[in-house]
């Protein structure tokens, strides 16, 4: 099996276990508060690291290019409470223009 196939099968299995844990096992009970707190905090730093990795990192070095202009435009759009679709389109359009201008 290719690495991608192994990854989607393994990740799919784990993800399903997470998704189904509540409906299948716990019914109406709640998880301990400290664990609940941890579960709500985990996505933040992970998503922040993904923003960094997908915008200014190529292999193991930092590259500042047109993607950064798109990310800045996305932040402004979010600040203005634009919805998800608009944010993504603004980011793409800004990056495309910046790339055309910068060459």
């Amino acid at each position: 099996m290719s690495p991608a196939t192994l990854t989607f099968l393994g990740l799919g299995l784990l993800s399903y276990a997470f998704k189904a844990a509540g409906p299948l096992l716990l019914g109406g009970r709640r998880m301990p508060r400290s664990l609940e707190r941890l579960a709500t905090l985990v996505p933040g730093p992970l998503l922040a690291a993904l923003v960094i990795a997908s915008s200014i990192v190529v292999d193991r070095s930092f590259v500042f290019d047109a993607r950064l202009a798109g990310l800045a435009a996305a932040a402004i759009a979010l600040r203005l409470r634009a919805n998800f679709v608009v944010v993504v389109i603004v980011a793409a359009a800004t990056t495309a223009v910046a790339r055309a201008v910068l060459g």
């Binding site: 990854t7 990740l11 992970l46 997908s54 292999d59 990310l71 990056t95 495309a96």
Partner: protein, 219 residues
Amino acid sequence: MPDPRSALRNRALSIGLSTVPFGLAFGVACAQAGLEWWEAAGFSTVVFGGSAQFAAVGVLADGGAVGAAIAAGALLNLRSVAFGLLLAPSLQGPLWWRALVSQWMIDESTAVAVSADDPVLRRYGYLAGGLSVFVLWNAATLVGVLALGRAGDLVTRWGLDATIPAAFLALLWPRLADPAQRRAMALGVAIAIALTPIAPPGIPIVAAVLGVLAGLERS
């Protein structure tokens, strides 16, 4: 009073449509990473969690190991446990039915569900949101990988590569309102930046989770 079910259906459809650009970008990212079209479809049906799919394919594209790709994606999907616990009381039914609908336990279906308070309406919102996103997300993935994926320069010319960080930013944006979340994210970013030049690809993303330590204190 408007029919609450039709309001839920509208919400479900809009949120499904909002995942389409992200789904197209995912298909393109898969093609760029050298995945087959059915592998891209495998991610979108079997994993069915946008940020986790992007993270895993991103790690593979950077030359990361299968284990690191699974870890990065799984940590992102860990939040589904919290959604499942939140919605379990509204999702009563036979075991096989709960097992089946659990696959739709994602941000969007949870968001539509909790926009209602009544358990019966929550269940309706969950199913409508889950179905809408599942169909549109998978359709967008296929179009992305099959129609747009082979046109590599199209991706950079249209700035489609910037849709990925923008989507991650949009997902974390609501969390910036909470000081504990901000501390966790700041430490996570610092860890990721510090490790990027020295650690294998994918590891800085997984290690960033330690940022939660900054969010836990004083809370």
